[in-house]
């Protein structure tokens, strides 16, 4: 009887120890799992914050190229988005992200690479509006085709990047090989290689549709394409106008080269137009102070006339610029993206006035 009782007691003790031990073990496993999730989220927050700091630094300093080692987070995919004037980037699948309504950032929708390349170029219309930041990676290859200053410039500037290749004809285009690269983007200035419904080079069929994109730049407008069922599919039925004054380092054109979607491109350009309005307001205020200054010096003089009295004077032109941008900001539904093209002649007018003014008067900018 006593033996049996002892046996039962020992068994109960062991069961008790097992249950208690199991509960304690589960408790610690729970704590570890919780900590793992928290530390992963913490890492994502840290990474996004560091990237934000890098982007801010790269974005404010003009004409800088940076190579950022991201091998520590190479298993993650960075995503970039811009919707209704709000840009967003972060690590895919993680809640940490950065939203930004100020800085235009042009890039592919996703980047999966152990290295990031950033390049900042000032956007002038005609005065400096902001610095456009282009984000790319060595495993995103850009194939350029056509005779244009932009192609030559990209080839020259992109030598450091190592991901820009100039095509010499139809055959080299058809032979484009992904070679283990993550994304392929074709930039066609001639408009002969890429057209809606044209076949995509055979070797590119192995890549996912969103990884193969193209841009056709014709005159001052852009057409965005993406691979769909082995053929090029036009993403924007209405060509997206390039709002710029042209010339070397055309920031708006470069933005189209590095953006893979027309929505992202227009959204980032929208950020630039918002900034342009603010800068034009300050420029107008400055011009008014200059007008007061010249009114005191010589009210009938050449400088006063150009600034505030002549036909198409600086004050009126800047005012028209602000009104146009204000109208688009107040009722965006009534303002088509094509309307921003009206900024080009106004900017050219300001530029012309500035050229004349800077000879004998205080320059506008």
């Amino acid at each position: 009887m006593a033996d049996k009782k002892g046996q039962v007691e020992v068994t109960i003790n062991w069961v008790y120890v097992l249950i208690a031990g199991g509960i304690i073990l589960l408790f610690f496993i729970g704590v570890i799992v919780k900590q793992k999730t928290a530390s992963e989220e913490g890492l994502a927050i840290d990474v996004v914050r560091v990237i934000e700091n890098i982007f801010v630094g790269a974005g404010v300093s003009e004409k800088t190229k940076n190579f950022i080692d991201t091998s520590g987070i190479s298993e993650f995919t960075l995503y970039f988005d811009c919707l209704e004037g709000v840009g967003e980037y972060g690590l895919q699948g993680k809640s940490a992200n950065v939203q930004n309504i100020i800085d235009p950032l042009f890039s592919s929708s996703t980047i999966h690479s152990p290295k990031l390349i950033t390049w900042s170029v000032p956007y002038l219309l005609p005065f400096k509006v902001t610095d456009f930041l282009y984000v790319t990676a060595p495993n995103i290859k850009y194939y350029l085709y056509g005779q244009d200053d932009l192609i030559e410039e990209l080839e020259r500037e992109g030598q450091e990047f190592g991901n820009i290749i100039v095509l010499d004809g139809q055959n080299s285009y058809m032979g484009i090989d992904p070679q283990g690269n993550d994304q392929i983007r074709v930039v066609d200035i001639s408009g002969t290689l890429v057209k809606d419904g044209f076949a995509v080079p055979e070797k590119l069929l192995s890549l996912a549709d969103e990884k193969v994109t193209a841009l056709v730049l014709q005159g001052e407008s852009a057409l965005f394409f993406q691979k769909e069922a082995g053929r090029w599919h036009l993403l924007n039925s209405i060509p997206v106008p390039i709002v710029s004054l042209g010339g070397a380092r055309d920031a708006a054109k470069l933005g189209a080269v590095f953006s893979t979607s027309p929505e992202q491109y227009q959204c980032n350009m929208g950020k630039a137009f918002h900034r342009l309005k603010n800068i034009a307001i300050i420029q107008l205020a400055r011009v008014e102070r200059l007008a007061e200054y010249y009114d005191l010096l010589n009210p009938e003089g050449f400088c006063t006339n150009l600034i505030s009295h002549a036909d198409k004077n600086a004050k009126d032109t800047l005012d028209m610029m602000i009104k146009l941008l204000d109208a688009c900001a107040l009722v965006p539904e009534d303002c088509d993206y094509q309307d921003y093209q009206k900024l080009i002649p106004l900017s050219q007018e300001v530029e012309k006035t500035n050229e004349v003014l800077k000879v004998n008067c205080i320059a506008l900018y």
Partner: protein, 194 residues
């Protein structure tokens, strides 16, 4: 004689039974005490275990709260750097040179004086996104003392404040002679709050 024997045997048996019963009773009492001791032991072990767990949690909590404060400080410092960078390179205020690169570390005083009055209506949204809670002032030191508030958005209450200074050249074209702008100098004071 036989009945006497039987009575004696019965008595002896009763005595033995009484002895056994008393021994059993004692043993039962002893095993109850052992169980009590066991129970007390278990409770003591559990008590110590929970004290250790509690201590661990409180130490961890303390460590976390310290690292959280440190993290907040780091974040504030990073924000101070970002805000200063943005303020120094503000396209609204830079000393432009046509389409050429703007002059470095230079602000146009005429534009700076107009910045706050002209763009005040956007300090709660657009520029708040850029600078958040901050107080940015341009202090001219030479040729005359002048304080130009650029962006003032100070919270009613704040725990931390980080101030940075940056020396700037200040260009004023309305003060120059024969088309040569006048240059002064001063500093940009950027205060950020959290």
């Amino acid at each position: 004689m036989r009945s006497i024997d039987t009575g004696i045997i019965k008595r002896i048996m009763n005595i033995i039974m009484d002895i056994i019963k008393s021994v059993m009773k004692r043993r039962m009492a002893f095993s109850g005490r052992r169980a009590q001791v066991h129970l007390t032991e278990t409770i003591a072990i559990l008590f110590i275990f929970f004290i250790l767990v509690g201590l661990g949690i409180s130490f961890y909590g303390k460590y976390k709260s310290i690292s959280f404060v440190e993290q907040q400080e780091e974040q504030l410092q990073a924000r101070a750097i970002r805000t200063t960078l943005r303020a120094i390179f503000l396209p609204e205020l830079l000393c432009s040179r046509g389409s050429a690169e703007p002059e470095e570390n230079c602000m146009d005083v005429v534009k700076a004086r107009e910045f706050s009055p002209q763009l005040q209506d956007q300090f709660d949204d657009y520029y708040f996104e850029m600078f958040s809670y901050a107080n940015i002032t341009l202090q001219q030191v030479y040729p005359s003392l002048e304080k130009i508030p650029l962006y003032v958005h100070v919270p009613e209450t704040y725990e931390q404040r980080e101030t940075t200074f940056f020396v700037m050249a200040l260009r004023d074209e309305t003060k120059g002679e024969r088309g040569v702008p006048s240059y002064g100098f001063g500093y940009l004071r950027v205060e950020v709050f959290s």
